[in-house]
């Protein structure tokens, strides 16, 4: 099975072959490195930029102004903050021009903790991104999801932020991408660049990939249950899945929703599930104060108050200036399995 990095690479290759994608760019995105997570290796349209995040976002916006599709990368979300006003402009361009200029651009950036990334390689961006009207914001939880969501993002006529959970970049999925060779070694031999001096001569042997677009704005249920709904995305979705499996052994039934798309979000999926379970927990790792999940919890409270058996809860990163490097610090800063499990158990036990 492909890793998420390989899946992203294959999606970009599919798009450059079949969707008119002509530019994949960012710092170290082109040869020889092909991205710090190798997600852009071997692409014919990948090129290196100056170390200039504002320049990267501006370039993407300008390309999109001509109507052409592009994918720009900010190497880590920790370094996207100096582009905030440019992201705002990209988000408001269609609106402020009253529909004159749509911007079909994708910005992808690795987010979140989980790889001992210290203060400036651990930031989350989902809550920040949810405050950028005009953008769509997606975050995959496995390789196949990454493939399908990235193709949908490239196809979308609006700016789309594709948040890559960096802790999952080397994690393999359990479902094949359409056209992906079943043999993991074969895939590696075909599309992973060799290390060392031979790299500059290397050319990938791409498999015959097929289209898979996952509709932006549509969630999916990854575990069915009837005692509690847990809504998450990215790497925490996998943690929630594990907790649901563990709790099942104890006789508990937890429904897990992979939101996939932070904005627009699938309210109908949340509503349907919470109508059944009457309890809900939102889990992500961005900082907890004015976290996007608070909006979802607010909405559940407002619209489903009399159907609830417990107050909606948000489990998110502590409201700290950064993620400390030592594992003791990191693990006490963002939700861990045991935090999720404890919250689930408390909610399941709660009676009105």
């Amino acid at each position: 099975m492909a890793s998420m990095a390989q899946a992203i690479r294959m999606a970009l290759h599919f798009a450059e072959e079949n969707m008119g994608l002509k530019d994949v760019f960012g710092q170290d995105v082109g040869a020889p490195l092909g991205g710090v997570f190798t997600a852009t290796q071997g692409l014919k349209t990948a090129w290196n930029t100056p170390l200039d995040e504002r320049g990267i976002i501006s370039m993407a916006t300008g390309i999109a102004m001509t109507g052409e599709r592009c994918v720009a990368e900010i190497q880590f979300a920790d370094y996207i903050f100096n582009t905030m006003d440019l992201l705002k402009i990209a988000g408001n361009t269609n609106w402020v021009s009253n529909g004159n200029y749509t911007l079909p651009m994708v910005v992808m950036t690795p987010v979140g903790a989980g790889i001992r990334g210290s203060v400036y390689h651990s930031h989350s961006f989902d809550a920040w991104a949810s405050r950028l009207p005009g953008w769509k914001v997606v975050m995959p939880s496995n390789a196949r999801e990454a493939y399908g969501l990235l193709l949908a993002a490239i196809d979308d006529p609006n700016p789309v932020l594709f948040l890559k959970p960096k802790a999952l970049m080397r994690v393999r999925g359990d479902e094949l991408i359409p056209g992906e060779p079943a043999d993991q070694k074969e895939l590696k031999n075909r599309i992973d660049a060799p290390l060392g001096d031979t790299r500059h001569k290397w050319r990938p042997q791409w498999p015959a990939l097929e289209e898979l677009k996952i509709k932006i704005g549509e969630a999916r249920v990854t575990r069915e249950g009837d005692q509690l709904t847990v809504v998450s995305y990215g790497r925490h979705l996998l943690m929630c899945n594990k907790v649901a499996d563990d709790l099942k052994a104890d006789g508990h039934s937890v429904e897990i929703i992979d939101l996939r798309s932070i904005y627009p979000y699938d309210w109908q999926a949340i509503k349907k599930s919470v109508s059944k379970t009457r309890k809900v927990l939102f889990v992500n790792e961005d900082t907890e104060v004015t976290n996007f999940a608070e909006h979802l919890a607010y909405r559940v409270t407002q619209e489903m108050f009399y159907q609830l058996d417990a107050a909606p809860r948000v489990l998110a990163g502590k409201n700290l200036p950064g993620i400390g490097l030592h594992p003791n610090l990191e693990e006490n800063s963002v939700p861990q399995n045991h935090d999720i499990e404890n919250a689930c158990r408390e909610l399941i036990a709660e009676m009105p």
Binding site: R54, G55, S97, N100, G134, P264
Partner: protein, 354 residues
Amino acid sequence: MALQNVPVKSKKSAAKAAKKKTPKALPLPKELLIRMHSLMVKARVLEERLIKIYKNGDAYFWIGSPGEEAFGVPLGLLADKGQGPQHDYLHLHYRGTPTLTAMGMPMIDSIRLIMNKATDTSTGGRNFCNHYCFPQWNVVPVSSPIEVQYGTAMGTAHVQRRTKGSRGISIVTGGDAGTAEGDFASAMIWASRPGRELPMLMTVQNNQWGISTDYKSQHGETNIVDRAKAFHIRTQIVNGNDPIESYLILSQEMEYIRKTRKPVMIEARVSRLYGHSSATGANLIPEEDCLLDFEKLLLKNGVLEEKTAKKVWTDYADEAREAQDQARTEAAPQGDTVWENVYANGENADWRKF
């Protein structure tokens, strides 16, 4: 270029007359000089009408370009107008009225914009005066944040660079104060990468002010374009109060970019005749007036007659007034349209309806 209005006399007497009486020859065709004058008047009258509209209470804010006509009009005349990367892209700042007037913008479009009418084709009543957008001419939306247009111009230039057969260039304009922003440096860096140079015309309309802060107190460099020299970007400094010099230099440099696909930076020294914006009063400030000087030059050289010149002013004044009267009758945008065009193709962006 043909020399205009040199009286035909004997060689000897002509030389004598030229020394004593004949005005300096004008190195542009008469028709072009008359057209430039007319467009400069049109842009000035329009801007002064916009100020009146603001002062009458028919608009919330004015910002614009009186004093930049001598540079802006030639720029608009020389731009290759059209849609798509075969044509020029224009990434203007909020002093683009002369350029757009020269490109053919009807006065009423500008007036609808300042009066926030639903009929405003640039923004639908959503944005400030002079924040133009004309996709049919590759005029991308003007944005209030200073200097971001230098960055987006890199993107359109990148596409033009790789578009086969394109002679299109990306024109980006800004002021002197804005060059302190990082995006100005980004544009120079990205436009001059070896082997990946971008067909960009970067202009800096240097009016010596950043709102109330004077140039001298903030700039250690002698000329702004000196910074571009470090990137081997070709540069020019022009008297932006002289439309003839501006036209000649712009024409030469734009052709250079079209041909070589390499960037140029031009610093134009211009006046700022009504201050920064309505926030600073929008009152006439006694600075060098490029339009009045140009008109005097044309009258002196017999290119223009006083009567004709007066008529140009009064005709445009009438047109501007009538446009305001027309715009006053037009509908304002409805409040319930705020969700329109958040996303493309009518897709809903209101979470209440998800």
